[in-house]
């Protein structure tokens, strides 16, 4: 039987308009599912009263026949987006009592279109992590388990709570952010669809800043069409973010089902990394075969600077983070630990408020920006970044419409498996996704198969700047061939 929580977003939208059920019923069904799934730790704050009030307003609009694009659709929002009057923490102790007096542009756009806030979802502290284990609220547990095992697995990160909210049917869609793979890697680990749009497509205003030249907001959904519907509402020019692009937002939903006949798909040889499991290689070839049988043309391409993207990222991102996180000073908002003087107040506050991964990155960032090291590290990394972007530009100039790659170098790992060791081990998770942020391009991850243990695996499509439509068309073609993936309920 189809329950209200297992509908797709598009089905729920149509059901509400056909008066098959009310927005209040839809919200209540999700609030109940959230309550029953607390063991997953996907939400760090549930907002049932807000959800019911927003749903009641949606029902009034639906009754009058004036439904907005997302009227009555319940969503989970990563706790990195400022929500007015609703606690926003970035899952850091340093912001544990922060209640914004303002609303982020992306969430304001969603409420403008009638969406309903279910609650704030868990994430790695300040979005720094690839497993959702660095949150001050504790790790998120994936709804997926290996066949015959009950070992708890990570959902990926940093937007792990948003991915799980969607995968476990706790929300019809969710919003995340992606600085190096924080939407796409958890989408791959949880069998959901996630897209990081082109840099500038969504406003960054009101999103807790990590690395400003890389951060972008994007949606999670259970299929490609739902992701397209959400992105249309989230995107758009915002005068409050000078890096937001002043260009029209297409109706992305129309790209779904559009023929991919004759589209040129690049297969980059540099993404065949040493030690990549045979299952991932097989899935990649399968994806290419699916696109080919849908009419696309495959071409081998070269992106020669690929291997330098991750090391360059681990200079650029911490450098920008060290600068952005300077604002947490114990004076204007957030945690404050007293000290004898102002310097000691800063130092004690930041020592107590930042977790280990955040501290590590702030220190690395401070070092690479410090006097005498700037040219050797930061300037060189920004030059390498130019080369990474140029690699893509050359490929697109040759007529390639999109690039197909694996999403992650493995399926989900166990909680605790990688968090205790060398930090670089964890960073390698983002080896296929980070290039996209470095080049400012759009990238979508679509679930495409399972590994031997039954865990979902994803494929990534990388597009030209501001050509998310092609990604939605190609993603929908992959989905049509590969199907969708849902975990068996155990929680």
């Amino acid at each position: 039987m189809t329950t209200l929580t297992s509908l797709t977003l598009a089905e729920a939208r149509d059901g509400l308009r056909a008066k098959k059920f009310s927005a209040r019923e839809l919200a209540d069904a999700h609030l109940k599912a959230m309550e029953q799934a607390r063991a997953l730790n996907a939400f760090v704050l549930e907002t049932p009263e807000r959800a019911q009030a927003m749903a009641a307003e949606a029902d009034q609009r639906l009754a009058k026949g004036g439904a907005r694009p997302l009227e009555g659709i319940p969503l989970g929002i990563k706790d990195l987006f400022a929500t007015a009057g609703v606690r926003t923490t970035a899952c850091s102790k340093i912001l544990e009592n922060f209640t914004p007096t303002y609303e982020s542009t992306v969430t304001a756009n969603l409420w403008r279109d009638g969406a309903v806030l279910l609650g704030k979802t868990n994430n790695d502290e300040f979005a720094m992590g690839s497993s959702n284990e660095t949150s001050c609220f504790g790790p998120v547990t994936s709804p997926w388990r290996r066949k015959g095992s009950n070992v708890p697995l990570v959902p990926g990160g940093s937007s792990g709570g948003s991915a799980v909210a969607v995968a476990a049917n706790l929300a019809l869609g969710a919003v995340g952010t992606d600085t190096g793979g924080s939407i796409r890697q958890p989408a791959a680990f949880t069998g959901t669809v996630g897209i990081k749009p082109t840099y500038g497509r969504c406003s960054r205003w009101g999103i807790v800043a990590f690395a400003s030249s890389l951060d972008q907001a994007g949606p999670f959904a259970r299929n490609v069409k739902d992701a397209a519907i959400l992105l249309r509402s989230m995107a758009g020019h915002d005068p409050k973010d000078s890096t937001s692009a002043d260009r029209a937002v297409p109706d992305f939903e129309k790209a779904i089902g559009k023929s991919v006949q004759g589209r040129k798909i690049g297969i980059p040889k540099e993404y065949r990394v040493p030690g990549m499991p045979a299952e991932i290689e097989k899935l990649w070839q399968q994806g290419a075969a699916w696109l080919k049988s849908a009419g696309a043309e495959l071409v081998e391409i070269s992106l020669p600077h690929t291997k330098y993207a991750l090391p360059a990222y681990y200079i650029v991102a911490p450098a920008e983070a060290s600068s952005n996180l300077a604002r947490y000073d114990g004076v204007r908002y957030g945690l404050r630990v007293p000290g004898r003087d102002i310097t000691e107040l800063y130092e004690q506050t930041r020592a107590a408020g930042f977790g280990q991964e955040v501290r590590r990155r702030v220190l690395i960032g401070t070092y690479v920006l410090s006097a005498g090291y700037y040219d050797a590290y930061y300037l060189r990394a920004q030059k390498v970044r130019t080369l990474i972007k140029r690699d893509f530009e050359e490929v697109f100039a040759k007529g390639v419409d999109a690039v197909l790659t694996p999403a992650t170098p493995s399926s989900a790992f166990a909680i605790g498996e990688k968090s205790a060791g060398d930090p670089v081990e964890m960073y390698l998770n983002d080896v296929f996704t980070v290039t996209v942020n470095m080049a400012g391009l759009p990238g979508i991850v679509v679930p495409a198969g399972r590994d031997g243990a039954g865990l979902p695996l994803g494929l990534q499509l990388i597009g030209r700047p501001f050509d998310e439509e092609t990604l939605f068309s190609l993603g929908a073609a992959l989905e049509q061939a590969g199907g969708t993936f849902a975990p068996a309920r155990w929680w």
Partner: protein
Amino acid sequence: MSVDAATVRRIAHLARIAVEEGEVEKLKGELNAILGFVEQLKEVNVEGVEPMTSVTPMQLKMRADKVTDGGDAAAVLANAPQTEEGFFLVPKVVE
């Protein structure tokens, strides 16, 4: 390049994060692991390459030089740990 214990302490002070003496060795190891990883960028020939300043081509917009926001001290101070008479409160800074 690698960092020694003195550099870790100096960086921590620049970042205004108190680090316990017992943590310095561990942090040194972690920072050197990351610095070792990024070392491979030295292989790349960046001769004549412009550093990236903007990932998408864009021109900053001009706007009228007018006050568009502000005048709400209560909202600004709403999350401050300590305030007094509409000001942020900090320990004595100037003797």
